[in-house]
Symmetry: D2
Subunit: 287 residues, 4 copies
């Protein structure tokens, strides 16, 4: 699962289950002298869906990188494939949306600095000014878009324009405490959110307070793609941490921050490595 | 936390927070030559509740074991203490209720056989005949009470009579797929249930099917005391296990069984060790 | 990962990395009308090793089950494949070796009873009589082979004869406190052992005592294939459990038993599902 | 376990086990009108050691904060107590030692920024220049002390002088790749180190490479106090993360960084909250 500097192509695909899928896809790569370095197939028998992730080396591959898509298209069509093709190395341009909490943002910026990330945080958008110094500190442009009911639509149009100018391909909600309108969401590239509970337990607001009141022995965090139904999008990654009666709500929040930043970072990493396939409102994570 | 063979007394108590609680309780024990071997205090500042568990040696203690309760009562009253006193060693008589699934039952019986348990399974009650051979195998009396809407009230009365005859002090629902009526529940000693999900996610029926449909990355199990509100009683113990897209519902059920039996056994053990205090519909586990 | 009742073939294989491996293997299956239901490939770039697990349906497959091996052999030879072929459904005959501790044995027997196992415990071998009643209870033949320095060689020959008579294909050391001689080990089918520590920490005897003395915050258990070098064989599965200063050695042992039985059972299950490939003294677990 | 802003005193103590310890200590606090808010006692029966942590409110307490130590001393002496007294609120001045890796340093600085820390990073010491920009970014003084065999003794003397000037009370080795000389260590305040393995597995250099070669299924990290015996000091906190054959050494290093930063931060937090007591080369963590 490491970040490779070599030239690679990755096919993420699913289709109705049928015989010969692995043979046909691997044959296509082999007949053009491609060397498969990682390959994983899964059949969801209940749904009748075949899913695969195939990664192969581009060095020595008989088709130019920018021609692979068109050359693969006829085979894909014959198999009724829903597919995306990803070329490596690549630094996916990312926009991070934040409000006032800094732990997820700093963690993402620190990973980018370490080179452990596989993407590039091109800009930060916020409805508050508090985190502008963090952005400045790490040298990333910060855009302040205050939000109120009257100007929300305008703010979303302005944000969309900005993301297009920067060719943003992934939006990360790093504790962004605003609901995205349906129109906005439709126009955005994929959006990953971190929810501070173990979904589907405690959806919505104040999950730690509710976890404390319920006396749970574990708290969790969930990273998911954002869809129209708040807190109902496909789950990419989850984790939990043990708590006890000794943990007040403030302690749960403090412990939860560690969960949130680690779980969000893992989900972003998996997405950037083209390891996440979505179907039927859930994910296959080829890890 | 080990099972000690020495003679011990354990006080589990809570009361409104006030100064001098630890001093007064420990002084009572010290002035009668008691040696405290384990002691834990916790103050829930939000609720204004002080809670404690104190364990001391009875060898050399200046009050006879059967007189401790009456001698402690005046101090307890002056502190507005809600308290229970537990004497060791003791083999708490337990009734295990089961339906058709055997994994939790066998696990509990195996622990009893190993001596790792701290209680004695006096009898097994079931609404099905399937697990009678397991009971016979481990030499524990098995009582078959078939249930239908017409005879449920009678069955509960008969069960209650049986439990009283055997002086049962704890009921364990080890995958017992019946709802207890409110009257029955009120008449029973403490009841511990295992729910096959990470409550409050997926309360009610078929949690694994719903976890699969939702695409969660972790499944869980929850052991809790049973109250009138199904799946809403005080949580004693929880744990989770990682799953992936490779796990079909049948796999989740299989993995879940391991979680269920371990989490239930831990909860029963903690109860039998007098380590669980209930207040405000949640638990303090002094572990 | 579920236990399927359908007819399946599973190929577990590794070879020097080269182009076209996936294509050639999947083409072989496809050209005989096989439907691949699960397939996973991995390349260890450091070692230059390609490894795969391919599972396909036998219903409709153009080669009879008992002819697959010979028909696949030429292709396998041309690819320098080290391979094993497994046909399903199958109840692998297993011998469980025990000494005096019962928790792993009862857990394995209970899984077999539940049908969650994928194998059949054909017999139990012990150097002590203590667990004979457990074997009787679950209706499995129990063979008592006392061991002393003088008769160890004879005991091993007798045991080997017994295993051959029962066509045993897997030996599980479920807390068997004897070292196997090199000759014995060489003559045995695969042997899985459970070590009561997180290897390579605390190899050898009394790991819980040493963990307690060292003040570790986690204890572990490790299931591994047995090789000539004690506690150095390929690791199949590991897990840990949190401990604290409140846990005396006896508590660590009690908590450790839960780890041991779960980790051993997972390893046996993975082996029986033909999901474990060994190379370079370590495993690839295709889960 | 939350960071309280109220005025508090905390007693951390151990002594030979004897009757009346809890009574005498709590009586001392009560007779001066102190309100105990958190109290925990533990007896290590094997070692015959009693240990306790008592936290009480200073508001209304009958002894001035700066006189508590002298007033408590006679009782402590009569009980043969080894004890430390801690007053809150306090911002313990910390020196962080680093080499080239930034993940632990940034994480600690980010926690300090969030106020989730309980201490104050007064300065950063490094034997390399690489992390000076991080220090500048967060506004913390950075001191560069290059090390070679010839000047190591001088460098340690200079560092010691610096720490004294800043009244440093805790040194955190945040991936500091230098061995501290015995004289240096003796002169330092408590030193917490993060080791990138699950000690005692893989002590010394290159643990991830060795974990990969051994084929372990879990990697770990260990935070411990530094003593003369490298990697043998009292363990404060440990955690593990699951890995598989898909993880190359580079992936283990990447995953390990998350473990390292979280485990180190937890250990530092526990120390700063006066929750760690050391005896017999191991810790009691009163959490």
């Amino acid at each position: 699962m490491s970040i490779e500097s070599q030239n690679r192509a990755i096919l993420l695909a699913c289709c109705p289950d049928q015989k010969g899928l692995v043979a046909k896809l691997s044959q296509f790569i082999y007949e053009h002298q491609g060397n498969i370095v990682d390959s994983d197939q899964h059949t969801d028998h209940e749904a009748g869906v075949f899913a695969t992730r195939i990664e192969w080396e581009l060095d020595g591959f008989g088709i130019a990188a920018d021609a692979i898509h068109s050359r693969l298209a006829p085979l894909a069509a014959s198999l009724q494939l829903q597919w995306t093709l990803h070329l490596r190395p690549k630094e996916t341009p990312i926009a991070v949306f934040v409000s006032r909490q800094d732990h997820c943002l700093i963690d993402l910026l620190a990973r980018q600095r370490s080179g452990d990330f596989g993407g590039r945080i091109a800009l930060i958008v916020s409805n508050h000014r508090e985190l502008a110094p963090i952005a400045a500190q790490f040298g990333v442009p910060f855009f302040y878009f205050p939000i109120s009911a009257e100007i929300k639509a305008q703010q979303e149009r302005d944000t969309l324009k900005l993301l297009k100018e920067h060719r943003i391909e992934l939006v990360v909600l790093a504790k962004y405490m605003q609901v995205l309108s349906q129109d906005f969401l439709t126009a955005l590239p994929p959006v990953i959110n971190i929810h501070h509970s173990f979904l589907p337990a405690f959806p919505g607001a104040s999950p730690y307070q509710r976890a404390f009141a319920r006396g749970v022995k574990l708290i969790g965090a969930t990273a998911h793609y954002v869809t129209q139904d708040l807190d109902e999008g496909p789950i990419i990654e989850q984790d939990v941490s043990r708590v006890s009666h000794r943990d007040a709500v403030a302690d749960m929040i403090r412990r939860g921050k560690d969960l949130e930043k680690i779980v969000l970072a893992r989900a972003v990493y998996l997405h950037l490595q083209s390891r996440v396939l979505v179907y039927h409102n859930k994910t296959i994570v080829f890890d």
